[in-house]
Symmetry: C2
Subunit: 143 residues, 2 copies
Amino acid sequence: MFTDEYFMKMALSEAQLALEKDEVPIGCVVVSRNRVIARAHNLTETLNDVTAHAEMQAITSAANFLGGKYLKDCTLYVTLEPCVMCSGALSWAQISKVVIGARDEQRGFINQHLSLHPKTEMVTGIMENECSSIVKEFFRSKR
Amino acid sequence: MFTDEYFMKMALSEAQLALEKDEVPIGCVVVSRNRVIARAHNLTETLNDVTAHAEMQAITSAANFLGGKYLKDCTLYVTLEPCVMCSGALSWAQISKVVIGARDEQRGFINQHLSLHPKTEMVTGIMENECSSIVKEFFRSKR
């Protein structure tokens, strides 16, 4: 039951909430021992704040829930590959695992030759089409 | 009067406030048209939050002051070279100028071969000794 797809669907629901606010539709959840301890979606326009990416909010929120700044035994499910800023935050958090929906060749951290913390396992391509489509559709509608 | 040293001294005062809270002593100010519009110091331990670097707080605070997410006509003065996360945030903010006190060879963004936004001018080495000493002394006292 608690598959990567199960939690990625929740991240996609968060992306949908962003879309409804006319935000770039990216969402994520943080899961610890099969329990969702944080969920967030991109709010950069709503909050007028470039730091309000889904991942940044989720890291702060999960740390608050856990009462410690390191996200040990935690997995982040995120619909789009994190940017440089968010990958840096995930590294500081020493999160155990990051599961990515779609790649972001332009703005993602991977093509910048950055890596996450040595402790962090990474998986890509979970529900890739759905995660990619929602963002592509958003930008198409803006043109 | 409004020299780089003038504003870096303010950033150093912020670093001093971090030191008094037993935080890694890094501070910054954001200046727009010779006016300080945000000031912050590292609060990662106090807030239990890896994202609470001085620069991240200052970016959010300056954007809030300006009522827009882009830090046009703004200069960030920071005592230590920004990390990957903070350099990513500064890039998203398209800040006009970044003035750095001391380099951070280990954790700084420059040795990661990252760059700021093409619009962003960068200056390093302002009050380098003072900015470096306060951090080195902090880690020496922890050993």
